[in-house]
Symmetry: C2
Subunit: 192 residues, 2 copies
DNA sequence: AAAAAGCCTTGACAATTGTCAAGGCTTTTT
DNA sequence: AAAAAGCCTTGACAATTGTCAAGGCTTTTT
C-alpha cells in the first residue's frame, strides 16, 4: 500500500529515490477493520497518519454522550489529533474506521527528522498545514454564517466523495445539526 | 512600537542581535485609526501583520449584507487572510480597526526570506500556524457541539481580554447568533 | 434463513432562535 | 451643548430546530 502514498508524494512534490527510500524506511502500515479504533479519548497521539485506503472519522463525545464529528478522512487525507501531538496532552478525540482501512504511519520523531533532512518534504508539510488551516477557517465561516440547508449543500459540493460513502446522520453530526433536521431539509430541498 | 514585537519574539524564541536586526530591517509600521480598513474584500492580501497596539476585526459579508466576524486581533495577535496570502486569490475578508491601532508589517517575500535565513524564526512561525490550526479546530468543536450559552461562556473564559473591549453584538456575530439572542442568554444567565 | 442492528423518514410538540420594532442609555460627532 | 450614531435590552410573533417515538427498509450478524 505504500505505492498509494508514493503517488500522493509525487503529486505534491519532487523527491529523489534516496529521499523516497528514507521516507519509506521509517513508515509502517496499519490495517484497521471497520469499527476498530485508531485512537481513543484519553490516550496521547504521537504519529502522523496517512489514509491509503478506507475511511476514518474523528469525533469528540460531549458530557451527554453525544458524538460530534470533527472530520472524515478518506484516501489521501491525514488523520490524527494535532493538539495532542503538539502539546503531548491526552487526546479529547476518538478515531475509528467507518470502513476497512489501510494506513501509512510515521512516529512523530521520525517524521520531524524527515522534515529536517528533506527540504522538499518539509515544504510539502508546510503547505499541508496551511491548507488545513484555511479549510478550518472556511468551515468556521460555514458554521457561523450559513443556514442549515446551505451548510448541507456546501458539504455536498466540497466533499462529494465523502458524501457518497458516509451515512447521513454522521454528516448531520459533522454539520452540527440533528439527523432529523437534516432529513427534513433533504425532503424539503428535493421538493423544489 | 517595534519593541512590542521584540518582546513578543523574545518570549517565543531566542534570536541573536544580528537576526533581530534582520527582522527589524524588513519590517514596517502602519497606524490605523478606528474604523479604517486594513483589507477590503476583493483585494489580495500579501503581508504578515502583527498587532502591536489596538484591536482589529476580520469579517466576511454574506449575500444579504450581514457581517460575520471570523476573528478579533488584539495586541500580540496576527491579522491577515492566509487563504489570499497562500493562493494569491482576491480576499473574501474585510479587516478594519475597532480601536486606533499600530501594526508591524512584513511583505510576504521578506517574511519567507526571514524564515529561510533564521531557523529559530522558522520554528516559531511553524509553531504559530500549528497553534492557529488547533484553535480553529476547537472553535469548530464549539460551533457544532455547544449550546449558545456554552459558546458564550467558553468565549469569556478563553478570551476575557477580548470580551472586555469588544461590543456584545460583535461577539454574537463571532459566535454565529443574533445580538438579541445573546442579550437574552445574558439576562437569563445573570438571573441564576 | 432468521434475527438483530443500523439507517432514514415522518409526526407531534416543545424549546430555541431570528426578525422587526421600540425605547433608553452611552459615546461620538457636529 | 445639541444632535446623531451606536449599543443593548425587551416584547411579540413566526420560523427553525431538537427530542421522543414509531415504522419501514437495508445491511450485518448469528
Amino acid at each position: 500500500m505504500f505505492e498509494v502514498f508514493q503517488k500522493y508524494l509525487s503529486e505534491k512534490t519532487t523527491l529523489t529515490d534516496t529521499e523516497l527510500e528514507m521516507i519509506q524506511s521509517v513508515s509502517f502500515t496499519k490495517k484497521l477493520r471497520k469499527r476498530q479504533y485508531l485512537l481513543q479519548e484519553g490516550d496521547a497521539w504521537k504519529h502522523y497518519c496517512f489514509v491509503a485506503k478506507g475511511c476514518l472519522r474523528i469525533y469528540r463525545v460531549d458530557q451527554k454522550g453525544v458524538e460530534h464529528i470533527m472530520k472524515f478522512c478518506i484516501e489521501n487525507w491525514w488523520a490524527g489529533d494535532r493538539e495532542s501531538l503538539l502539546t503531548g496532552s491526552p487526546s479529547q478525540c476518538n478515531i475509528d474506521a467507518l470502513e476497512d482501512s489501510v494506513l501509512i504511519l510515521f512516529k512523530k520523531e521520525d517524521y520531524d527528522e524527515l522534515r529536517k533532512k528533506i527540504p522538499a518534504f518539509d515544504d510539502m508539510v508546510n503547505t499541508l498545514i496551511h491548507r488545513s488551516y484555511i479549510a478550518s477557517q472556511n468551515r468556521i465561516h460555514s458554521a457561523i454564517s450559513y443556514t442549515t440547508e446551505e451548510k448541507y449543500q456546501n458539504f455536498i459540493e466540497k466533499y462529494p466523495d465523502i458524501f457518497s460513502r458516509v451515512p447521513l446522520h454522521m454528516i448531520a453530526s459533522y454539520l452540527g445539526v440533528s439527523a432529523e433536521t437534516l432529513s427534513r431539509i433533504r425532503t424539503h430541498a428535493a421538493r423544489r
